[in-house]
Amino acid sequence: MKDYSDKRKEVVMKMRKIFLGVIIVTFLFVIGVIPGHAQKEVTYLSLADYTAAIAGLNVPADMGCEDYIKDMNARGGVDGVKVKFIGVDTRYDVARGVSAYKRYRTEPKLLVANAIGTPIGKAVAPLATKDKIVTLVPGDGEFQANLGRIFVWGPTYQDSFAATIDWLVADWKKKGKTGMPKLGYISWDNAYGKEYLRGGKEYAEKMGVSLAPPEFFPAGSLDHTVYLTRLAKAEVNYIFVGGVDPTPTNVIRDAHKLGLTKTIQFFCDYWGPTSLGVRLHPEALEGVVIVSYYLRGDDARNHPLANLWMKYGRGKLEDMNEVYTIGMSWAITFEAALKNALKQVGYKKLDGEAIFQAYQTLTGTERAGLQGPCAYSPTSRRGSLEVRFYQVKAGKVVSISDWIKAPDAVSLHKF
């Protein structure tokens, strides 16, 4: 009995020591005693979606951003300062997005957080504003209407919708039709899906284009027949399809099955069918017009920077998703802002405030032709003002216009 008791005491003492050690290490870790490594580098955070609703857009876009940054770092960085790209999969979930932001906000020289989705952007925006970090968001007009530290990637969604209205009015007249056309709208039943009409609806009224009651469907819908049938019954001449690909491809595929593509001209927004989607449904997508603020189709694949796709082992060039170029555009814009900020304050004083001021000086900055010239300024949060129209012809996405300045639809809506 005495032996057992001594042995038990020994074991208990050992376990107490181990337990105490674990507590101490955890405590040290928690209070951040374990130091990080300081390097001459800045951080670019992407609160991305790699596995959920907008993965189709975000994965290739972040690939483009990451590859450009890798290439830039290989060339010596920006005036000797390297950029660290951190991509986090938020799964389009606000809680994960906010948690990821809070986890990485203490990264050395975190200057920009690219919030890929509308709800994450809105949740992270006040936190980033408090931390004086620049946030990038897709296309919400709200951030142009209420100027802050949130910058939009290109022209706002409602501006692109207004540009589409101008296009269809011209098309209507070219076809020799009288009166004004009727436009239908179908998109995701969420904040992004409804954003186009916040300003877009007012612009349509201003131009005399009548809008049929819009149709909204859940993001995961597999069939859109019911919604399309209602639009067809409303006798629309044009339909604007929202949603991130493959959603618009699926919508138009359903419209094609109903025979609507023969009588109604379909439009898609920025995130509409890419060349890959067109390869899958060439017949259904034939004639679809895509409004885009970035290069598409062969314009994108023939661009010199598209070589990075193959350089970094992403695959064959013909498999390159055009959205890849958006990511490069983000990186080029960041590079230009960083250059300006380093010139103004130097590396030691470089912080979110400096990069915010630098972003506002980028008016007119070219992004190697990937999108229109930068329009960021003290009074503008638009990434650019120009859009371009593409059309699906014989299974390819071809340009049918040059860069056109999109009308300002944001100012027509009360945010």
């Binding site: 790699y50 972040d62 986090v88 999969d89 389009y92 606000v94 989705g117 709800p119």
Partner: protein
């Protein structure tokens, strides 16, 4: 199982949750650590604790209805949304104080949860699960289609306030969240020891036998749903005022599935199991989120995107492993560990 050498001589000792001085010391130590944490903890970990606490409250509710009463529910995220929006509307639009809106949110969510519980008398198992999924979709369709909820734009509830002191940072609202979490845990832990808790367990184990014994099935099932949704509503209210933004896309079916997963991993029918499940899976998620960029930089051939997306597959793999090797969850493992520690060097 009591620690070796601990004998109950009074009923109060038999009923006690914290039986010996060591238990009280650990509890008091934990309370001191948690309540002083904002003084020395990093912003990230304080925020993580806030998130964990809110999730614990939600899963506690789910444990009561699913783990103890055996009524599977996939509607927890939707009821959390009810609580969040109720609190946001009351505070942002009607000027209610957060401390009044909090219990009202729970009650409103609980009352609406009775609709979720209504089918439970007629159907069970898979069919009840489908009914709760349907309720989730009904609620989550209604919310973005009503003006009072801000439609798809959401609402921006103000932070809690007492006089001129505003709880508008993680470090300050932490105290409210932690306190509510402890109170809800205390409530749940005691509830399962009462007549109501025993009725829940009887219904879970054999509802026919329970009915024969005189337990009113419908009444207790509805009560289980009410309590569960009350917990979800409270968590929703805390969430809304912590994030200071409510948006329909914050409450998806995937979240509800996550909560069920936490229940499975932690262990059904156990209050400590809730803590184990929530902490284990959330830390796993955070760990993957932290490790992915590191992994991608050390092994560039993996690529940042497959590495960053690991959390989805890791969650699935972990769930499958637990279902195969430890279906009773981490709580069961904890019980085995405690028993072996207390009985050492004896095996039984």
């Amino acid at each position: 199982m009591r620690p070796c050498g601990t004998f109950d001589e009074r009923y109060s000792q038999d009923m006690a949750i914290f039986r010996i001085k060591r238990h009280w010391a650990v509890l008091i130590g934990a309370l001191i650590f948690l309540y002083t944490f904002p003084l020395y903890g990093s912003y990230y970990f304080i925020s993580l604790l806030n998130s964990l606490s809110i999730t614990i409250i939600i899963v506690l509710g789910l444990q009561l209805v699913s783990g103890y009463c055996g009524q599977i529910s996939f509607g927890q995220a939707a009821f959390m949304a009810i609580g969040a929006y109720t609190s946001a509307i009351l505070t942002a639009k009607f000027g209610f104080s957060f401390f009044l809106a909090l219990p009202i949110s729970g009650i409103v969510a609980g009352l609406i949860g009775l609709a979720g519980g209504a089918p439970s008398l007629r159907i069970k198992g898979f069919y009840l699960a489908m009914a709760t999924i349907a309720i989730h979709f009904v609620i989550m369709w209604l919310i973005p289609h009503l003006d009072i909820t801000g439609a798809t734009q959401g609402l921006h509830p103000p932070p809690p306030q007492i006089g001129s002191f505003v709880f508008d940072s993680d470090e300050t609202i932490y105290y409210i969240i932690i306190t509510v979490m402890f109170l809800m845990t205390f409530g749940a832990r005691n509830m399962v020891r009462t007549r109501v808790g025993r009725a829940f367990v009887a219904i879970r184990d054999n509802d026919l036998a329970a009915e024969v014994m005189g337990i009113e099935l419908y009444r207790y099932k509805l009560l289980a749903f009410f309590i569960s949704c009350f917990y979800a509503g409270i968590a929703g209210s805390l969430w809304a005022h912590w994030i200071q933004m409510v948006h329909p896309e914050q409450f998806t079916l995937l979240h509800a599935l996550n909560y069920i997963g936490m229940l499975i991993v932690g262990g059904g029918g156990s209050i400590p199991g809730v803590f184990f499940g929530v902490i284990f899976l959330r830390l796993l998620e955070e760990g993957v989120m932290f490790a992915a960029p590191l992994l991608a930089s050390v092994f560039p051939w993996i690529g940042i995107h497959p590495a960053a997306s690991m959390s989805v597959s890791v969650f699935g793999v972990v769930l499958i492993l637990f279902l195969i090797f430890e279906p009773r969850g981490l709580a069961h493992r904890w019980e085995i560990f405690k028993a072996s520690y207390r009985l050492y060097p004896f095996s039984h």
